[in-house]
């Protein structure tokens, strides 16, 4: 598998009007060329760099791609967007559509927008179990803080979306008080005690947090930072690491640690490493040494302990 890198995928869920299209636009804008910083300054973001090719997959073309020329494939219709990105609508079933995107478009990253009523838990399973070509990078669920304040009851469709998310954006916090945002978050947290909660305005979220490490790009943060403040630190090592000890550490990372990513060299070989709120993924990958980034909250407090344990992993 080392020679065919997996394509990372993000699933975006959320109820009607919560901000799914806004987040998609941000992701696509960030991938367009001549924006943001020079590639050399970018680190860890697949949306970075002049050639990042993102494929958005949706059930039907939404507002992203109206009046564009449609190229019809077997399981997808494709519309070319600015900056080399594409928007694909499904005409066949999900698995075949994803495979066709990988074969014909060869994107650096796939973003799937699930409709407002999708059973996202089924989609997550589909990716993890039936699509070995894909690495599930993150499941992002967007919650509308404004509507959530007016209607605190969390509907059953929303519950299923929330339950399967890694990152939950409590969006539109500019329309509510901090106390109200807290209430909405507490309501949502009843259905997911694992996810990272981020408060956002117009889905403004730190891309470093949103995206894991991809095999092709070592980009940087292009999005305006979210309302929350995150800490991060890097750790490198020339020596190989002990896989068992590293797995143990990953299994015990504290909840405040939202994302970890990078390249790890084990005695048995190199790995592309991605971690998001308790879910870790290792993919065979040629690496020279270990380069890791840890992102989360209260890292000043947590950093010494994590670094100690990393040092102990050194063989």
């Amino acid at each position: 598998m080392a020679d065919i890198p997996k394509t990372p995928m993000m699933l975006i869920t959320g109820s009607l009007g919560s901000g799914k299209t806004t987040l998609l636009r941000r992701i696509l804008d960030s991938a367009a060329p001549n924006r943001g910083q020079p590639p050399a300054l970018q680190a860890g973001n697949p949306a970075a760099g002049p050639a990042a090719r993102i494929a958005v997959l949706m059930n039907e073309f939404g507002e992203l791609a109206i009046d564009s020329r449609v190229i019809s494939g077997k399981n997808i219709d494709i519309i070319e967007l600015a900056g080399g990105c594409v928007c694909c609508s499904m005409t066949g079933e999900f698995e075949s559509a994803v495979r066709e995107i990988i074969e014909t478009v060869g994107p650096d990253y796939i973003v799937v927008e699930a409709t407002g009523v999708a059973e996202s838990d089924a989609l997550v399973f589909e990716v993890e179990d039936n699509l070995p070509e894909v690495r599930l990078d993150s499941v992002v669920c967007i919650v509308d803080a404004y509507l959530g304040t007016r209607h605190p009851y969390v509907g059953y469709t929303s519950r299923s979306q929330i339950a399967s998310a890694d990152i939950i954006l409590i969006n539109k916090v500019d329309l509510v008080t901090p106390a109200e945002a807290q209430t909405v978050e507490a309501g949502v947290a009843q259905y997911n005690d694992r996810a990272a909660f981020l408060r956002t305005v117009k889905c403004g979220v730190d891309a470093n947090l949103l995206f894991g490490q991809t095999s092709r790009h070592r980009g940087g943060s292009l999005f305006p930072a979210s309302e929350d403040k995150f800490d991060s630190f890097a750790w490198t090592s020339e020596k190989s690491l002990d896989k068992t000890k590293f797995d143990e550490l990953v299994g015990e990372l504290p909840q405040e640690l939202i994302r970890a990513k990078g390249f790890v060299r084990f005695e048995e070989g190199g790995r592309l490493f991605n971690y998001v709120v308790g879910r870790a993924d290792f993919e065979e990958f040629d690496v020279a040494g270990t380069e890791l980034v840890f992102i989360g909250r209260n890292l000043d407090r947590l950093r010494p302990e994590i670094e100690n344990r990393l040092n102990e992993c050194r063989v």
Binding site: E95, A122, G155, Y156, S158
Partner: protein, 485 residues
């Protein structure tokens, strides 16, 4: 899980939740099910059916049918009748797949006569009736033609050569619900729908070739009246709806309702998924007219599929469709809201009856039934899981207790993801083939979602409706060929 402790047993098949269960309930809620089926129901059913009981204008009870489980806003299996003047209309009470429904078609063939042609029939049907998420059909329409079609429904199809005149009288609303207004639908909805006439779609939608055995005829007289007259008779049943079009219509109006519900009409609802507007308001009326377009689109969709079925059977068996007896028994929706007259407190009243995952089941003599079924009561088509079989029922007089509504299928017992974890599509297909059910699917993992054990026992569901007196069994069908959407 166990919701049963919170219910008051009214009879072996009727369970009540009084209005003091939850603040704001205007009427009690009633779940129609046996003790066993209630025990299998999720907490969401109880929570959602009591949420529905808080909606303005609701009459008598908020109901849930024996196949109920949690859905978007309303439970699937939810029935709620709203007063025409003061009640609301809610997309969550209709479903995103507007007029998702069932159509049953007869043949004069026995199983032995088609056995050797089964694979060819299923393969050809699989080619001619496109399945899958975004699949497009063979009827090529311009946007304007599609706008005409959604106002005319199945009648448009018959006028354009896709069907027989008699199909219309054997379709609910005669295939064309009046009041559909294409000026109330968005361009986006048109774009999602105009290529999808004649397509099954994905999920739990299917087309099945089935057989009725002698021992599976429960009411010989009604079976005869509905056209089941020979032993091992082959029938064709299919389940589909209004595809992306209905979904877009619902989405468009949910957005409208969320904006005006509270600010303009002062309606406070518990669950945002129950977004609604007063039925009599401009927004409510606009949605009703747009939703009817989706109802007609779905009737047209099933009409074109019937036309394709006739073509395939005729091609494969080299006989004329009329000679093969390919007459439709009935076409009935299980995701709609319709204006009907029902007796409330001894007086006839105009009510907007929401049925979401529930089937209309008019008893004998009801207005709206064609002459053909005036005496028998309405045929009710209940789709089971693809492994276990399906039913033909009939509406009964005592159905008035649920505004003449009954179950629609067997209802899921496990989530799609759980089913996918437990079953493997390809192995399931091979296993079913060994048991004499030949399956074609657009998606292996989608097939796994539809495995028999993912659903409630269909026999228990229909027995519960019969015991409760909301419909009666006529015949049970066993699948022999299946195309899964």
């Amino acid at each position: 899980m166990a919701i049963i402790s919170k219910l008051i047993k009214k009879s072996d098949t009727v369970w009540e939740i009084p209005p003091d269960f939850k603040e704001g309930m205007r009427v009690p809620a009633r779940i129609y099910a046996t003790e066993k089926l209630v025990a299998e129901m999720d907490e969401g059913v109880l929570d959602q059916v009591t949420n529905v009981a808080t909606l303005p204008g609701i009459q008598k009870y908020a109901f849930c049918m024996p196949d109920g489980h949690w859905g978007y806003g309303f439970p699937i299996g939810g029935v709620a009748a709203m007063d025409e003047r003061v009640g609301v209309i809610s997309p969550g009470g209709i479903g995103f797949d507007v007029n998702c429904g069932m159509r049953l078609v007869l043949t004069t063939l026995t199983y032995d006569e088609i056995k050797e042609h089964m694979k060819e029939l299923v393969d050809r049907l699989f080619q001619r009736v496109p399945a899958g998420v975004g699949s497009s059909g063979f009827v090529k329409l311009s946007h304007d033609e599609f706008r005409t079609l959604v106002e005319k429904g199945a009648r448009w199809c018959v006028q354009n050569g896709y069907g027989w005149e008699e199909d219309l009288e054997r379709t609910e609303e005669f295939g064309q619900i009046s009041g559909a207004d294409a000026s109330k639908i968005t361009q986006k909805a048109v774009e999602r729908g105009y290529r999808q006439i004649g397509t099954l779609g994905s999920g739990n939608h299917y087309l099945e070739i089935q057989v009725t055995r002698r021992e599976n005829i429960f009411d010989p007289e009604l079976a005869e009246a509905f056209g089941l007259r020979i032993p091992d008779q082959v029938v064709i049943m299919f389940h589909c709806g209004s595809r992306g079009f209905g979904h877009q219509v619902a989405t468009d109006y949910l957005q409208v309702f969320l904006k005006v519900m509270e600010t303009k009409y002062g309606i406070r609802i518990l669950d945002r998924e129950l977004a609604c507007a007063p039925f009599a308001s401009p927004e409510g009326q606009d949605y009703f007219a747009a939703m009817k377009c989706a109802v007609n689109m779905s009737f047209a969709n099933r009409q074109v599929i019937l036309h394709r079925i006739r073509e395939v059977f005729s091609d494969v068996l080299r006989r004329d469709p009329a000679d093969l007896g390919l007459h439709q028994v009935y076409d009935v929706a299980h995701n709609t809201a319709k204006l009907e007259t029902h007796i409330v407190d001894g007086r006839p009243q105009r009510l907007l009856v929401h049925r979401k995952g529930a089937t209309r089941a008019f008893g004998p003599g009801a207005e709206g039934l064609p002459a053909l079924y005036r005496k028998t009561g309405q045929p009710v088509i209940i789709g089971g899981s693809m492994e276990t079989g399906s039913y033909l029922l009939a509406g009964v007089d005592s159905g008035d207790q649920t505004f003449f509504s009954t179950a629609h299928g067997s209802g899921r017992t496990m989530s799609r993801s759980k089913a996918k974890k437990m079953f493997h599509g390809k192995a399931l297909q091979q296993d079913m083939e060994r048991r004499g059910i030949y399956v074609r699917t657009a998606s292996w993992s989608g097939l796994a979602e539809e495995a028999g054990p993912a659903y409630k026992n269909i026999d228990e569901v229909v027995e519960a409706t019969e015991a409760a007196g909301i419909s009666k069994r006529v015949a049970r069908f066993l699948p022999v060929g299946n195309i899964k959407g």
